[in-house]
């Protein structure tokens, strides 16, 4: 049961908290322990919740937790400040999804651990 690992990831899943290397300033999302520059000290910074779609695909055969959602958009979103992350693209007709489309990250259910398990939340991208 992955509940424990999910709980440990709450800061990044819920508050979009990233790690900013104290040596070179590179920002990692999700946070990591060692920077490419070798630095190990990171400052916690919250990502912007607005950005744009850099690229995307349409998922028509989804993994087991997402089969009831197909077809759905899945994109790389560059948030204001330059950090990129992957997110589902929702509340938008599939034909309207475009690269460069302004989006906002909105808190949503991502999946659940079966009918009796915990509900796992995070962010999806919606048109800004």
């Amino acid at each position: 049961m992955p509940s424990a690992s999910y709980t440990r990831e709450i800061p990044q899943r819920y508050r979009l908290e990233a790690g900013k290397c104290s040596s070179c300033g590179k920002i990692y999302y999700p946070p990591r322990l060692v920077c490419v520059c070798g630095g190990r000290d990171f400052e916690t910074v919250a990502l912007s919740d607005t950005g744009k779609v850099v690229t995307y695909t349409i998922i028509r055969v989804g993994p087991s937790d997402f089969v009831e959602e197909v077809p759905y958009g899945l994109g790389i979103v560059e948030v204001d400040g330059g950090v990129r992350l992957m997110a589902q693209l929702v509340d938008v007709p599939l034909d309207d999804i475009k690269t460069g489309m302004p989006v906002r990250l909105e808190f949503r259910k991502i999946y659940q651990e079966g009918e009796a398990g915990i509900i796992c939340y995070g962010h999806k991208a919606v048109p800004a």
């Binding site: 819920y14 508050r15 808190f107 939340y121 999806k124």
Partner: protein, 351 residues
């Protein structure tokens, strides 16, 4: 007295029209539209629940308040559709905002007035000096049994109010509650859909309590309808709140801004609180607002708010309620609606 320092609203973009539901059940859509004064209702997508709606509404409330979320000392969510039977909705909301760990939290339930009870407790904790800021949220993804009259109105949405003692946008001048044991609407443990007592939900339930609460708070405050710029009442349909407003002597221009039900449906715990957000979006400094909720079982909470000069500075700092209500919407067919609301029996995964 304490009051509101920030407010926020959120609702799904998906909608279903009364005609779409009526054609499945062979019902007369025009009769429902006229009888209930409802055209369409919001529908939560499968990735939307009371927690996600509450989070977005609360983020908007904090944005308008402009305060450090770490100073929020209490987070109360009122709903009858908490995603968990055991595990609070409020812990997730507080965690997303960054209000943990020094934060009080419990979920509230009282049919459709759980949200206003959460607001009252949040106000009183601030008044008592226990916390600097407290969140009171009303949110629901309400259920109505297929084919039941409730199916035409049961919808989804959330309103969040950050209460504080300083930097107010609206001071709470008075509160009042009116409550009896009245079995007009209920859902027993393990039952999926609520039951209701048909026409008994009108005069002995909704009207008795809403009118009793409204008259009680007006007497307590020594105020008359003409002392208010706006009023908002619980909206199980589009007709009941207008009838109450007229009986009390309010004019259409006082109640129509807060009446969202014709395009939104009944968001249960979010209902009158969301109407209040629509009023706060347009109200002017010095204006008074009367807010009366209703929850089956049964009771009403009343509030008299008076807006401050600061309100005009924050109205545009987050999306406004009528923009969300009348903005881009995606209309569902009944089959899609049934899938979204989990009304289709599926095979168990892996079986």
């Amino acid at each position: 007295m304490a009051g509101i320092v920030g407010w926020g609203c959120h609702m799904p973009r998906h909608r279903v029209k009364v005609e779409e539901i009526a054609k499945v059940w062979g019902a007369d859509a025009q009769a429902y539209k006229k009888g209930l004064n409802v055209q369409e209702k919001s529908v939560p997508a499968p990735d939307t629940d009371t927690i996600t709606l509450s989070v977005t509404a609360a983020r908007r409330a904090v944005a308008r308040a402009g305060v450090d979320p770490a100073a929020i000392g209490a987070c109360y969510v009122g709903s009858e559709s908490h995603p968990y039977a055991v595990k609070p909705s409020g812990t997730t909301v507080a965690e997303v905002l960054g209000a943990t760990p020094e934060c009080r939290c419990a979920d509230f339930e009282f049919a459709c007035k759980a949200g206003t009870e959460a607001m009252t407790v949040a106000l009183r904790l601030v008044d008592a000096g226990e916390v600097t800021y407290a969140l009171g949220i009303g949110a629901d993804t309400s259920q109505g049994a297929p084919g039941d009259a409730l199916e035409y109105t049961a919808s989804a949405g959330a309103a969040a109010f950050l209460m504080g003692a300083d930097n107010l946008v609206a001071e709470c001048e008075h509160t009042y509650s009116y409550m009896t044991d009245t079995a007009d609407f209920w859902r027993r443990e393990y039952q999926y859909y609520p039951q209701h007592a048909g026409r008994f939900t009108g005069e002995p339930a909704y009207f008795k309590h809403v009118l009793g609460c409204a008259k009680g708070i007006l007497d307590k405050a020594g105020l008359k309808p003409e002392d208010f710029a706006y009023c908002v009442f619980h909206q199980p349909n589009g007709k009941f709140p207008a009838t109450v407003a007229k009986k009390l002597g309010f004019k259409k221009e006082q109640w129509e801004q807060g009446l969202l039900c014709p395009l939104l449906g009944n968001t249960y715990s979010g209902s009158s609180p969301m109407g209040l957000t629509a009023i706060l979006d347009v109200v002017k400094p010095g204006d008074r607002i009367l807010h009366v909720s209703y929850g089956s079982g049964a009771g009403s909470d009343g509030f008299v708010f008076r807006c401050t000069d600061r309100i005009a500075e924050v109205q545009k700092l987050a999306p406004q309620t009528r923009e969300l209500l009348e903005g881009e919407r995606f209309y569902l067919q009944y089959g899609e609606y049934a899938k979204f609301r989990g009304k289709i029996i599926m095979n168990v995964k892996g079986a």
